[in-house]
Amino acid sequence: MCRIRKWGPAALLVAPSLLAIGVFVYGFLGWNLRVSVSDWRGLRATYDYAGLDNYRRLAEDTRFIDGVQNVVVFTLVFVFGTLVFGFLLALLLERGVRGEAFFRTVFLFPMAISFIATAIIWRWLLSNASGAQETGLNRLFDSLGVGFLANDWFKSDSYWAVASVAIAAGWALVGYIMALFLAGLRGVSDDLREAARVDGASEAKAFWHVVRPMLLPVVMSAIVILAHISLKTFDLIYAMDAKSRKIETPALYMWFITFEGLNFSIGAAIATLLMVGIAAVIVPYIWYSVRSERRP
């Protein structure tokens, strides 16, 4: 009785959110899994068990396989690029630029723009039209006399077409990553750096041996945030060039096959695979952070 009085109120307080998460996250996850092994096509739900047929079909579906390849390229370019540029911006600001607040806001602003608007701006900037229709970056390059830099961007035939979409996504999120790094850098106390300097460490060495290790948690969080955004990215690609196989990812294919093709079971199978992909990124992170929190 006494023990209930101790944890009862707390349990009562978290109960609604536990219930909501239980139903809306785990309940739906389970339901989605069930749909993915069913034969549901068309507007009326059917749950007859179809085993792994849907997954087998996806394994042979070139549109899905191209999509996986695209999302891998997209993730690599987007995560790596955003980390590098976010870090460089943070480093520059940390050095004490005049008007730091102004720059911080400028770099953060793109994140406030919806991905749809971002996509429409970048669709124009990265257009590969030529002649009188030429716009955006290609036109800029031409007028600066560096026309050889002009590119087919997201309409290119190479595997890297989707990387140009990553440029747009990176532009949107680089400010956020910069803010994360800036907070991380500011969190390193000056005393530690002073101590390193007193011990005769050069500025570079102090950074490498003192500051860098302390930034590791920031890098880990940034990677997880960016990687899961990358796997879920939908609106950006949809608005840039919907149904273009050059940049389509499984998230888009899932939408088309579900709501246009009314093939709900295949759509659910793609959703399940996407979830597994995201879990592959997030679970090791959770494991890492739980382990490091336990450390004294």
Partner: protein, 437 residues
């Protein structure tokens, strides 16, 4: 401490219960009419609310829709009209929202669908009511063309009311560009197009412009139609034409050749920017449905026939490749009596003659007031009412291929445009066709 907490949670529980009761009460005084058994409900409608679901938001679309809704409001002055519109070209977004609502058993009173195969899943899932009785009552079988009703009929029943007709097989051109290149008239066949393309390219013009993937599908259907003719084209969708026959693969190879003379590598982001090079005189042709007319005439303010021209796409003279927006009566429509009134209006001569001149399409009825359709619209109206014309349904706009089949064609087309492998495309489409039978 704990007692305070208990008291608070008790109070909030009571509040919650009260709120729930309110919600239930407000559900209770819903003024839905009982669905009549198949026939009409006698007397005037008693509902006071009507929810109408469409994807008409673009220029021309929304004005036309408003005119029709105004007419409806005039006849039913005490009714509150809820215009549930979801934006998005060709209704892709609207259809996703609608799908969710239909599956949740929360249909609007009437919703928009393309006539034909696109409505098939709704019929199979028994989400829409059979409207054959309404056709008989209003005498619509005599005013809509027989060939069109045939494509809209499933097991002797008709499930939606078409309000308009758009034409797909059109080629738009810039007369000044043709004159400059010394071309007398638009091509009458795709072979002739290829000859003209060489001349145009020599003059530094792009022969044909193209937009995103659905416009490529739109071009594909019209190349197939031009090369195969109406009968063989229609056979592609009912199994009587073999996708893997040489006839079809030759037509598909023609599509690849035609694309090679387009700006497909620099395809525009949408259909309107795809028309811009034609308007600006950098390109000669564009194959697009007749919603393009609104863009030329209204958005760009160009003069028909002098600044832009149009004719049937190569090889399709005497053929009308159509698509149509229609309205349904969902099973369990909350205000069924008004929904039926709405469908009567949508199918009536007055309703169609109010809507179409503004929307920039022609009535599905063949007894329209021809004086209302001037400029470009004269041509499709004359053709539509011509009993000799051959009618075929559009692929890109859901008449001849439904969601599942159409999505698989999308997948195969994406690959085909990149690889040019017509045999592979033909076998993929054939397989998809058989899988969806």
């Amino acid at each position: 401490m704990t007692s305070t907490l208990h008291r608070t949670s008790g109070r909030s529980l009571a509040a919650l219960a009260a709120a729930a009761a309110l919600v239930l009460a407000s559900c209770g005084d819903d003024d839905g009419a009982e669905p009549g058994a198949g026939g009409t409900s006698p007397g005037a409608p008693t509902s006071t609310e009507f929810e109408f679901f469409s994807w008409w938001t673009g220029a021309g679309d929304s004005e036309g829709k408003q005119a029709l809704l105004d007419l409806f409001a005039e006849r039913h002055p005490d009714v509150e009209i809820i215009d549930a519109t979801v934006a998005g070209g060709a209704g892709t977004n609207a259809q996703a929202v609608l799908t969710t609502r239909l599956q949740a058993g929360d249909p609007p009173d009437s919703y928009q669908r393309h006539v034909g195969a696109e409505l098939q899943p709704d019929i199979e899932a028994e989400l829409v009511e059979d409207l054959t009785w309404l056709y008989d009552e209003e005498g619509w079988r005599d005013v809509f063309p027989e060939d069109m009703l045939e494509l809209a009929t499933v097991d002797d029943r008709i499930y939606s009311v078409p309000v308009n007709i758009h034409r797909s097989n059109l080629i738009w051109y810039n007369p000044a560009v043709l004159a400059e290149a010394g071309i007398a008239a638009p091509p009458a066949s795709w072979d002739e197009f290829l000859q003209q393309a060489a001349t145009l390219e020599a003059a530094g013009k792009t022969p044909l412009t193209i937009g995103p993937s659905w416009t490529q599908k739109h071009l594909l259907e019209n190349v197939l139609l031009g090369e195969l003719g109406a009968e063989a084209y229609s056979g592609l969708w009912d199994g009587s034409t073999d996708w893997e026959s040489t006839e079809v693969t030759d037509a598909l190879d023609m599509f690849t050749e035609v694309l090679a003379h387009s700006n497909v590598d620099e395809a525009a982001a949408d259909w309107q920017p795809a028309l811009d090079p034609v308007i600006e005189g950098d390109a000669a042709y564009n194959v697009m449905g007749d919603w393009a007319n609104t863009y030329f005439a209204t958005a760009q303010g160009l003069a028909f026939e002098t600044e832009y021209g149009v004719t049937t796409s190569p090889g399709t003279e005497g053929i009308f490749n159509w698509l149509s927006d229609s309205f349904t009566l969902p099973v369990g429509a909350p205000h069924r009596d008004l929904a039926v009134e709405w469908l009567r209006l949508a199918g009536s001569k007055e309703g169609q003659d109010t809507f179409n001149p503004i929307k920039g399409s022609i009535p599905a009825r063949t007894d329209a007031d021809t004086s209302l359709y001037t400029g470009y619209l004269e041509m499709p109206l004359t053709d539509w009412n011509d009993p000799e014309i051959e009618l075929v349904g559009s692929l890109a706009h859901g008449v001849v291929a439904g969601g599942a089949f159409n999505t698989e064609i999308d997948s195969a087309l994406g690959e085909f445009v990149a690889s040019g492998d017509s045999a592979q495309f033909a076998s993929a489409v054939k397989e998809a066709y058989e899988a969806n039978q």
